[in-house]
């Protein structure tokens, strides 16, 4: 085994770190505390460097950053706590359109996505279908040259700042659920679309989106009619490694260490000198190293052109579950002050311990719940019988 990154990836790491130092200011990080998990300025700066396009595979006409360079970038951005959800979506959708989209979509959307001007949101989940995503019921019906869409999506995160939604619809009710789906990229300013905020326990805001006789032309369809599952698979394929989620804990650990070094417990002991605290910190640091092993492995597999599945599932499961545990430990170990809300003057490290505790639970839910992930591991890696 060889764990070293090639020199160009190490050089790129240095470049990304310098970029983070310059552009990931406290204001950028705290801007997401308003609820919108995207920061346009930061996103555009990444785009200006050519890194969004760079992440698109070169066989699709992208800028040809290697899988290992991408892994390095995603790692560094996560370690620093940068807002990268929008970046992930842009890269995924651009890649899917370039692979499977028509010329209209390639020309009208991809350049704007890769220059950081526009965003797409994901419209998969519905009020009655989440884990069972193929059970989507939002209807698209052909009417002459146009499609008429009716239905509702839930958790259309970033739709309120995006120009488009990658929309999963049902076009055929007579066939098994996976075979009657069709995808569209729908401009969100089309009449008949309503976006309502969904506020969450975490700081982030999501949306419910409503589609009432929304009419769009066939040029907005991506993939075949009833062939939507292929698009879903392609989106998942490009999401691997790009979507982040491998390193949620380091910003929390850093924040806690800052706090623990300068604060005393009621009995006068500096928090960081408590052996129980120290053991837990080491356990958290070990978990991060484990995440690193998983993340480097998926990067390696991607660099070999291997379509990995279960390896990504294990990464996601381990990273999110351990993060949730860490968020509980560190708020506890700050004592009652740990409860003070994000932005509260007296809150330890600005309330980050509170913020992480409220944010962590979503990481084991979105992007495939831990339960679904365990199903995939049991079936895919251990060969246990499928139960659904």
């Amino acid at each position: 085994m060889d764990w070293s990154f090639p020199p160009e990836a190490e050089e790129f790491r240095t470049e990304v770190k310098a970029f983070i130092n310059e552009h990931l200011t406290d204001e950028v990080i705290s801007s997401t505390h308003e609820g919108t998990i995207h920061n346009w300025d930061f996103h555009k700066k990444i785009a200006e460097r050519g890194w969004l396009g760079g992440a698109v595979p070169s066989e699709l006409g992208g800028g040809g950053k290697s899988a290992l360079e991408m892994a390095v970038m995603i790692e560094e951005l996560q370690l620093a706590g940068a807002p990268i959800d929008g970046m992930g979506v842009a890269i995924v959708v651009a890649s899917v359109v370039l692979e499977l989209g028509n010329n209209h979509l390639k020309e009208s959307i991809v350049p704007k996505l890769l220059s950081g001007e526009t965003l797409v949101s994901f419209g998969y989940t519905e009020p009655d279908s989440g884990s069972d995503v193929a059970a989507a019921q939002t209807r698209a019906v052909k009417d002459g040259d146009e499609w008429v869409i009716n239905g509702q999506k839930m958790w259309t995160t970033m739709a309120h700042i995006a120009d488009y939604v990658l929309l999963l619809t049902r076009t055929n009710t007579e066939v098994p659920k996976h075979k009657g789906l069709t995808f569209f990229i729908v401009p969100l300013n089309t009449s008949g679309i309503e976006i309502q905020p969904v506020h969450t326990m975490g700081t982030e805001r999501s949306n419910a989106t409503f589609y009432d006789d929304v009419r769009i032309g066939d040029e907005w369809r991506i993939g075949d009619v009833d062939g939507g599952w292929e698009i879903m698979k392609a989106a998942l394929k490009y999401e691997r490694g790009i979507a982040g989620g491998q390193f949620p804990s380091p910003p929390l650990i850093d924040a806690f260490v800052d706090h623990a070094q300068t604060s005393k417990r009621p009995d006068g002991l500096t928090i960081i000198d408590d052996p129980v605290v120290r053991e837990r910190l080491v356990r958290a640091l070990i978990d991060v190293e484990v995440c690193r092993g998983f993340a480097y492995n998926t990067a390696f597999l991607a660099s070999e052109g291997v379509m990995f599945g279960v390896e990504g599932s294990m990464t996601k499961l381990f990273a999110s579950e351990s993060y949730k545990k860490h968020s509980k430990w560190f708020i506890d170990m700050a004592g009652a002050e740990g409860l003070l809300y994000l932005g509260e003057d007296e809150a330890p490290v600005g309330g980050l311990l509170d913020e992480h505790f409220r944010h962590a639970p979503v990481t084991t839910i979105y992007g495939g719940t831990s339960e679904i992930t365990r199903n995939l591991i049991a079936e895919g890696l251990l060969g246990l019988p499928r139960t659904r």
Partner: protein, 338 residues
């Protein structure tokens, strides 16, 4: 970056896999249960060159990197082999690094003589609970600021233990000093890290096999008219468990590579991998044992052997809580005077 075995490494793995299949089958492991050592298997291991594989070529060793030793260590774990491969490898490298011309070296390279090291603090001339203590012809121990070598098999008697390990107290009476001061402490600490990293790899092999045993059982056993492996409760338990084992695979191999490359991270990663692998392996064995139901508790079923080794191998180093504190001191600051 290449995170699989390369073709040379795969070939080595295949050779040793055949070796362990024939010399450390579970029947053989059970036969040597009381001694914790299989003399015949060690004699055959000598024929493969494994005992001296990771010693420098200049002194007659195999010249293989530590990463090759890790391939064998993984199999030691998978087969819960009653062979002191890791202790011997680490202790002989330690001696070779300090005293390459020592008389004992040729017999250690061949494997005719077995050497081990103490992992517990020594007191006066007593080395307690020495790994491979019943079989080692020589033992390296830390004594104050000295490293000493006690050669010659003494009449150490086996101490029965949780994990069927060949543990014994040894005397350091008459031991020769092989290094002192900083050099001694640094070399010993390096050997200890190598032991931790290779043990982490072995525990990973053990954990993977333990899950495999449990999953196989779940594909055979029916209750309520269905295979127990179809119950989601079991599936999820197995899935979480194998995720821990795979995590320990990557971390422990990264630790071995870091030591091999003399990276600054070697010591820290070895300790981290050791702690993580210890928990992952025990969790794997305990989970699979649980999913055997009552049979898992029966001596006749193999999973109990894995459960006991998963605890016994790492605990030879002492309370993991102490190790957590050591790693904390390596990576964490202490309180500022506020």
């Amino acid at each position: 970056m290449y995170l699989r075995l390369n073709s040379d490494e795969s070939a080595i793995k295949d050779i040793f896999h055949s070796f362990f299949e024939s010399e450390c089958s579970i029947e053989r492991v059970r036969l040597s249960q009381h001694a914790g050592f299989d003399t015949r298997a060690w004699e055959r291991l000598i024929e493969t060159g494994a005992p001296g594989m990771c010693l420098p070529e200049q002194i007659g060793g195999g010249g293989a990197p530590l990463t090759t030793g890790a391939i064998v260590a993984d199999l030691v774990g998978e087969f819960i082999a009653p062979l002191p491969f890791i202790e011997h490898l680490v202790a002989s490298r330690l001696l070779a690094s300090l005293a390459p011309d020592h008389d004992l070296i040729p017999a250690l390279i061949s494997g005719e003589n077995i050497i081990s090291l103490t992992l517990q603090p020594t007191k006066d001339d007593h080395a307690k609970l020495v790994p491979a203590g019943t079989i080692a012809d020589a033992v390296i121990a830390c004594k104050g600021n000295d490293l000493v070598l006690a050669s010659g098999k003494d009449t150490a008697s086996l101490l029965r233990n949780t994990a069927d390990l060949p543990l014994a107290h040894r005397t350091l009476n008459g031991a020769e000093t092989i290094a002192s001061g900083n050099e001694a402490m640094e070399s010993f600490s390096r050997a200890r890290s190598e032991w931790q990293a290779l043990m982490a790899v072995a525990l990973t092999g053990l954990g993977r096999k333990a899950v495999d045993i449990g999953v196989s059982y779940a594909k055979e056993r029916y209750q309520f008219g269905v295979l127990i492996g179809s119950f989601q409760g079991l599936q999820h338990g197995f899935a979480s468990t194998i995720t821990g084992v795979e995590g320990s695979h990557f971390l422990s191999n990264r630790a071995v590579s870091a030591l091999e490359n003399d990276s600054d991270l070697g010591d820290k990663l070895a300790g981290m991998a050791f702690l993580f692998a210890s928990e992952a392996a025990l969790n794997a064995s305990a989970t699979s044992l649980q999913y055997h139901g009552g049979y898992g508790f029966a001596e006749e079923y193999d999973i109990q052997l894995f459960y006991r080794r998963a605890k016994g191998w790492p605990l030879q180093l002492g309370d993991p809580g102490v190790e957590y504190q050591r790693i904390a001191n390596l990576c964490l600051p202490s309180g500022k005077v506020a």
